[in-house]
């Protein structure tokens, strides 16, 4: 399977099974269009290429055949026999701890119902947090690297428990020969010097929420009294990043159909000096007024392409920054096993509520049909977990035929369930946006080699 696309005057082909990427001139691009997806040249189609000389066409055929011979184009699928081995998931290696089902902001698009997750406002106790650490160690098998994300609601509203959990995990990791990596995702509102110092010392990654331009951010990320949050967030986020040095962070925002020119928000954050930026499409209910709709796709895709162009220019001219969704590591990225399994929700990755209940991920919390047990009694026999274990890009018809399957890895199960009521049927708008982002990332590579 191959995927050919044109962007900003460049023709690029991705060989799906090998991951090889090539740039084509107009002759090669036209000749390649005369091949089937199986790599068979349909000679009759060559007669229509009157704009090229026969010598040029033959040269392009030679190039294509050379790549075919070297498994860099039209590569056959070598993975099917490995799928049972790769999808045999028996361990849990990452937990998203819902430290607080409460929040000091009232963001319009919050999938957590402004922190409550369709339940009541509550805080995780240290007892539940410690038990979650025990649960993770006990269910992690031989995995050494374990991850814990402090999430909410807003985790800084329960920061003493965060500290207690970290302290406990550091003791337990030595005993169990594990390595914990902590991440915290915060809206920054309560991020004072003491908390910044603690996070910088103890957290592998920190995700700071800010949507971009003040008017964009304040239209959706509101305080309880309805006022905007930008002026409070920005100084705290800047201090956090300055003090963090080289350690990992992301300034992370959301765009909605109200700001389909979200590239300006990315640039706004870059202009403010942030170098690790993620602005992501909202996942909001249909009819919310914020959701990205089919009729918005052309505009959003054009905006990604425009952003890619500006991104390359900036990086060439000494204003380097990284956009999370344009990151692609063609040489050292994840192995194919990870690529076909996806994010691991419901299998190696689980969310824990303040009460200790387990769900496939943070976005399923509160939906009782997805309850997978609790940290005290362990994983239950809910058959839905088996469905998560059995789902991969080869088991989803829409993914199996898609050129981007090894880049999005089947998409977000929560999105699939929210929009199609089935974790195996991907969210089509999300798919289109992901495909465009992968094309942009490949084009950017072609510009930066």
């Amino acid at each position: 399977m191959i995927h050919v696309f044109e962007m900003h005057g460049k023709n690029i082909v991705l060989d799906v099974m090998s991951g090889a990427v090539h740039e084509l001139d107009s002759v090669a691009c036209d000749v390649l269009s005369c091949y089937t997806q199986e790599g068979i040249l349909e000679e009759g189609k060559l007669d229509k290429l009157v704009q090229h000389s026969r010598d040029e066409i033959n040269e392009a055929i030679d190039d294509i055949e050379y790549l075919k011979k070297n498994d860099l184009l039209f590569t056959k699928d070598p993975y099917e026999e490995y799928i049972p081995k790769w999808t045999k998931q028996t361990v849990v290696k990452a937990l998203c701890l819902h430290i607080a089902h409460d929040c000091n902001l009232r963001c319009s698009y919050c999938f957590a119902g402004t922190g409550e997750y369709m339940g009541h406002r509550s805080l995780m106790s240290l007892e539940v947090g410690k038990k979650a650490i025990d649960f993770l160690i006990e269910n992690s098998g031989n995995r050494k690297n374990l991850e814990v994300d402090f999430f909410g609601g807003e985790p800084l509203m329960n920061f003493e428990v965060v500290k207690g959990i970290v302290e406990y995990a550091r003791i337990r990791e030595k005993q169990a020969n594990k390595n914990f990596r902590f991440t915290i995702t915060t809206n920054v509102m309560l991020l004072d010097k003491e908390k910044r110092d603690y996070i910088n010392k103890n957290m592998h990654n920190v995700v700071l929420s800010l949507d971009g331009r003040k008017e964009v951010n304040d239209a959706v990320r509101k305080r309880v009294d309805g006022s905007g949050s930008y002026d409070r967030i920005l100084p705290g986020a800047k201090k956090m990043v300055e003090e963090r040095g080289e350690d990992q962070y992301y300034i992370r925002g959301t765009f909605t159909r109200r700001n389909l020119d979200f590239g300006k928000d990315v640039m706004h954050l870059a202009d403010l000096g942030f170098e690790q930026i993620s602005i992501e499409p909202v996942v909001a209910a249909k009819g919310s007024g914020l959701d990205i709709r089919t009729e918005d796709l052309e505009k959003v895709c054009n905006e990604y392409e425009r952003l890619a162009l500006e991104y390359v220019e900036r990086r060439k001219n000494g204003k380097w920054f990284n956009f999370f969704h344009f990151m692609i590591d063609l040489e050292g990225g994840p192995c194919v096993a990870k690529r076909l399994r996806g994010c691991g929700s419901g299998t190696e990755y689980l969310a824990v509520t303040p009460e200790g209940d387990l769900y496939p991920c943070h976005q399923f919390v509160g939906h009782e049909e997805f309850l997978l047990g609790n940290v005290f009694d362990g994983i239950n026999d809910n058959p839905v977990r088996k469905k998560f274990q059995e789902t991969n890009v080869y088991t989803k018809p829409e993914c199996n035929d898609c050129w981007a399957k090894f880049y999005c890895s089947g998409g977000c199960a929560a999105n699939a369930w929210q929009f199609n009521n089935d974790i195996t049927v991907p969210y089509d708008i999300g798919c289109e946006l992901e495909k465009k982002r992968v094309e942009c990332a490949l084009w950017i590579k072609s510009q930066e080699i």
């Binding site: 490995y82 690297n145 192995c335 199960a413």
Partner: protein, 46 residues
């Protein structure tokens, strides 16, 4: 090659037998939380 320039020849299929150790970061722990973004994750072995 006269008409094609290879941008990346590293192949997904070259280390198939070593794939799947499971030590890498879970993608949702990086930044996304609402979108599945796997291809930009790092391999722990590389």
């Amino acid at each position: 090659m006269k008409h094609i320039k290879t941008i990346n020849s590293s192949t997904l299929n070259k280390d198939v037998n070593k794939a799947g150790c499971g030590e890498c970061q879970t993608s949702c722990q990086s930044a996304c939380k609402t979108s599945c973004t796997v291809a930009n994750q790092k391999c722990e072995k590389k």
